[in-house]
C-alpha cells in the first residue's frame, strides 16, 4: 500500500471548501415574457400564431357559452326568445339536481351526501402522521364502508343483518376517531384501557381481544341508538346521475387493483392451472368490448348464480365492470412487475422472505410506484367508461343528460347538458391526474 506515497515530502492537507447555497435565477414577469415568449424572431412569430389561433377558436365558444348565454328561464322557448344564438344554461340548472342525483327523491338526497361525506371522513385519518396501522384502516374502509353507504342509500327498516353491519361499520369509524382524539391528547388508545383486564384471560391475545371488545360495545351502542331512526326505502331503480356513476366507478377503481394484482401474479405463476386460468380471464375480457360485457352481465350472469340469489341490475353491472377493470389492470401491473430487476427477487430471497412477503413488501411497492401514471390513466378511463351503463338502461349521468332533451319544457336541448357533463368530468378527471402527480412526487425516493 505504501509504495505510492512519498514519505519525505511535506504533504499539504486537503480541506474541502464550504458549500455555497445554489444560485437562483429570477426574471420577473416581463423578463419571463421576454425570455420565453418573445425571445427572437421565430419565437415571437410562434407566440403570435398560437395566440391568434386560440382566439379564433375560443371566441365563438365564449360568445355562445358566456356572452350570449341565458341563465334564467323556465322553458327552452323562453331561452330562444331572449337570445337565439346563446347557450341555454337555464335548462341545465333546472335539471342540475337530477344530473347529480338521478331520480333520487329530493328530500332524501342528504343521505347520499352524508354517505359520501362519511367515506371522506373514513379516509382522512390516512394522512395523519401519528396514527399506526393505516393499512388496517384502509382495508376496513374497503370492506366495511360499502355496507354503511349502501344502507344509507337504500334505507330500510332498522333491523336485519344489513342494518347491523352498517352499525358495526359506523362503530369502527367511531373507534378510529376516538383513538385519534386520544392519541393527540396524549392518552392511551381506547383498547389499551381494557388490555390489563383481558390479560388475565389470555395474555397473548389481549391486544386483539380488547380491540374486538371495544368495537363490539360501540356497535351495540350504535345499534340501540339508531333503533328508532327509520330510513325510507329508495329502490335502486331510483338511483342515478353522477351519484350512480361514482358508485359504479368507485367499485371498479377500488377492485381493479387487487383483482389486477392477483391476475398478474397468477399469469407469472409457476403453477400451470393458475397461470392458464389467469391468462384465459385476462385475454377473454380484454378482447371483448365493454358494452358486450355489460349486456352479457345483465342477460347471462343470472345463469351462473343460484335462482334464490336476488341479483339486481346494478350489482350485475358492478361485478362486470370490476372484472373488466381488473383484467385491464392486470396487464398494467404485469408491465410494472417486469420493470423490477431480478436482483430484487434475489435479494429478497437471500434475506429469507417467502413468495408473498417478497411480493407485498418488496416487489409490488416498487412496481406500483412505477405504475402510478398508468394506473391513474386507467382509473380515469374507467370513470369515463362507466357512462356506457346508460346503454343498458341505468340512469347514470349520461342518460340523465339525454333525458333533458326529451323533457317537454326543454325539448331539443342537446348541447348544453353535454357541455355541462364534460365540465363535470373534466373536474373529476383532472383532479385525479393532479392527485397522482402529487403522489408521485411524494413517493419519489431515489435520485
Amino acid at each position: 500500500m505504501g509504495k505510492l506515497t512519498n514519505p519525505k515530502a511535506e504533504l499539504l492537507e486537503f480541506v474541502p471548501r464550504p458549500s455555497r447555497p445554489p444560485v437562483v435565477v429570477t426574471y420577473g414577469f416581463t423578463g419571463w415574457l421576454k425570455k420565453h415568449l418573445f425571445g427572437g424572431f421565430w419565437n415571437t412569430l410562434q407566440t403570435i400564431a398560437v395566440f391568434s389561433l386560440l382566439y379564433l377558436l375560443l371566441k365563438p365558444f365564449i360568445e355562445w357559452s358566456v356572452i350570449d348565454a341565458v341563465w334564467v328561464a323556465s322553458t327552452r322557448r323562453e331561452c330562444l326568445e331572449i337570445s337565439p344564438d346563446g347557450a341555454c344554461w337555464a335548462g341545465v340548472i333546472t335539471w342540475f339536481n337530477n344530473l347529480i342525483y338521478g331520480r333520487y327523491p329530493d328530500e332524501l338526497q342528504w343521505r347520499i351526501n352524508l354517505g359520501f361525506g362519511l367515506g371522506l371522513v373514513w379516509l382522512m385519518p390516512l394522512v395523519l402522521k401519528k396514527l399506526k396501522n393505516k393499512i388496517g384502516i384502509a382495508i376496513m374502509a374497503v370492506v366495511l364502508y360499502p355496507f354503511l353507504a349502501n344502507y344509507l342509500f337504500i334505507g330500510g327498516e332498522p333491523n336485519g343483518l344489513h342494518y347491523i353491519i352498517a352499525c358495526v361499520a359506523l362503530a369502527y369509524l367511531m373507534m378510529i376517531y376516538i383513538n385519534i382524539i386520544l392519541i393527540y391528547t396524549g392518552c392511551q388508545l381506547l383498547e389499551q384501557y381494557l388490555e390489563p383486564l383481558l390479560e388475565r384471560i389470555s395474555p397473548k391475545k389481549a391486544a386483539l381481544l380488547s380491540h374486538v371488545a371495544c368495537w363490539f360495545v360501540l356497535s351495540l351502542l350504535i345499534v340501540s341508538i339508531f333503533q328508532g331512526v327509520q330510513l325510507q326505502h329508495v329502490p335502486i331503480d331510483m338511483w342515478g346521475g353522477l351519484f350512480l356513476t361514482v358508485v359504479i366507478s368507485s367499485f371498479a377503481i377500488v377492485m381493479a387493483l387487487p383483482i389486477g394484482v392477483f391476475l398478474a401474479l397468477g399469469r407469472r405463476s409457476n403453477m400451470p392451472v393458475i397461470k392458464w386460468f389467469s391468462i384465459a380471464i385476462i385475454e377473454l375480457v380484454r378482447s371483448v368490448p365493454m358494452i358486450t360485457v355489460l349486456f352479457m352481465s345483465v342477460t347471462m350472469m343470472p345463469l351462473f348464480f343460484p335462482n334464490t340469489m336476488d341479483l339486481n341490475k346494478l350489482s350485475q353491472v358492478i361485478i362486470a365492470v370490476c372484472i373488466f377493470a381488473g383484467a385491464y389492470m392486470a396487464e398494467t401491473v404485469r408491465g410494472g412487475l417486469q420493470a423490477i430487476s431480478p436482483g430484487q427477487f434475489d435479494a429478497a430471497k437471500s434475506v429469507g422472505l417467502g413468495y408473498w412477503q417478497t411480493m407485498f413488501l418488496i416487489i409490488l411497492p416498487q412496481a406500483l410506484k412505477l405504475m402510478i401514471p398508468n394506473i391513474v390513466t386507467s382509473f380515469i378511463s374507467m370513470f369515463k367508461d362507466t357512462t356506457l351503463v346508460s346503454i343498458i338502461g341505468l340512469f347514470d349521468i349520461m342518460l340523465m343528460a339525454r333525458n333533458i332533451s326529451i323533457d317537454k319544457d326543454w325539448y331539443g336541448l342537446h348541447s348544453e347538458p353535454l357541455v355541462a357533463i364534460s365540465f363535470i368530468f373534466f373536474i373529476v378527471c383532472y383532479g385525479m391526474s393532479q392527485y397522482s402527480q402529487s403522489l408521485e412526487k411524494k413517493l419519489k425516493t431515489s435520485r
Binding site: M1, S341, G343, Q344, D346, A347, A348, K349, S350, V351, G352, L353, G354, Y355, Q357, L361, I362, P365, Q366, K369, T445, S446, R447
Partner: protein, 262 residues
C-alpha cells in the same frame, strides 16, 4: 488497515464442523453444462475465495448454495442439512446463509434502516424497537450509522454495499456468500468494503467470496478455489495457489489479473 495476516488460524484448526458440503454438483442451463462435478467442503469459520475467468460458473455455484439456483445432479448440504428442491428447505437454508451481490440490490423504496430491520421484523418476529436497536449496532459496525434515514439511491456504492452487509448480518447468518462485492466500486470504496469484510472474517464468520481482489485473498483466505469452464481447476491455501499454481490455466489467469491490479 489492520495488516496482521491471520495465517495462524488457518493452519491450526484442521478439524471442525463442516459448514458446507458440496458433492458431485452438476448443473445445466438448458443444454449448457455450467457446473461440472463440483465437490468441495468448507469447515466452519473458514474463508474461501473463489476466482476464475468470466463465465466460469462462479456466481452460479454460490447461488446454488443458498437455493437461488436449482441444480440437477449432486447434493449440497449446509450444516448437515441437505438442500432439497422445495420451499421449506429453501427457507431453512436461507436462515443460515446471507448473501451479498455485485450490484448491492438494496431495496430502493425503503430507508437504510428499514432495509436492515425488514428481515428481523417479518421473519424473526422481533419487535420493531429491538430490531432497530440491533440494526443500529450493525450499521455502526460497517460505518454507515449516519445515513440511516436516507434511501439507497441517495448514498454511494461503497456505502450501499456496506449497508447490504449490515442487512445480511441482521439475520444473524452463520455463513456469508459474496458475489464480487467490490467489482462495481472504485478503489477508495473497495478498501472500505474490504475492511468490513476483513473485520467479519476475523470475527469468525464462515465466508465464501467470489472476488478478484488478490490482496484480500492473500490476507484472509484459508483456501483459494480456481474455477474455469464450470470446473474446479485448482484448490489450496493462498500461498500455494497464488505462488506455485499447478496448472497453466491458473498461472495464466493470475498473471493476467495481477498485472491489472498491482
Amino acid at each position: 488497515m489492520n495488516n496482521k495476516i491471520t495465517d495462524i488460524s488457518s493452519q491450526e484448526k484442521n478439524s471442525g464442523t463442516i459448514a458446507i458440503k458440496v458433492d458431485g454438483l452438476n448443473k445445466w442451463f438448458d443444454k449448457f453444462h455450467v457446473l461440472k462435478d463440483i465437490s468441495m467442503s468448507v469447515l466452519e469459520k473458514k474463508i474461501i475465495v473463489i476466482c476464475g475467468p468470466s463465465g466460469s460458473g462462479k456466481s452460479t455455484l454460490i447461488r446454488c448454495l443458498n437455493h437461488l439456483e436449482l441444480f440437477q445432479e449432486g447434493s449440497v448440504s449446509i450444516f448437515g442439512q441437505e438442500l432439497l428442491n422445495d420451499k421449506k428447505s429453501a427457507t431453512l437454508i436461507r436462515e443460515n446463509v446471507g448473501m451479498l451481490f455485485q450490484n448491492f440490490n438494496l431495496f430502493p423504496h425503503l430507508t437504510i434502516l428499514k432495509n436492515c430491520t425488514l428481515g428481523p421484523i417479518w421473519l424473526k418476529k422481533i419487535p420493531e424497537s429491538k430490531a432497530v436497536e440491533q440494526a443500529m449496532v450493525l450499521l455502526d459496525r460497517v460505518g454507515v450509522s449516519k445515513l440511516v434515514s436516507k434511501y439507497p439511491g441517495q448514498i454511494s456504492g461503497g456505502q450501499q454495499q456496506r449497508v447490504a452487509i449490515a442487512r445480511a448480518l441482521a439475520m444473524e447468518p452463520r455463513i456469508m456468500l459474496f458475489d464480487e462485492p467490490t467489482s462495481a466500486l472504485d478503489p477508495e470504496m473497495i478498501k472500505k468494503v474490504l475492511d468490513v469484510m476483513i473485520d467479519l472474517a476475523e470475527s469468525g464468520m464462515t465466508m465464501i467470496c467470489v472476488t478478484h481482489e488478490m490482496q484480500f485473498a492473500h490476507q484472509v483466505a484459508d483456501q483459494i478455489i480456481f474455477m474455469s469452464d464450470g470446473e474446479i481447476v485448482e484448490t489450496g491455501p493462498p500461498e500455494q495457489v497464488l505462488k506455485n499454481p499447478k496448472w497453466d490455466r491458473t498461472s495464466h489467469f493470475l498473471q493476467h489479473i495481477l498485472s491489472h491490479t498491482s
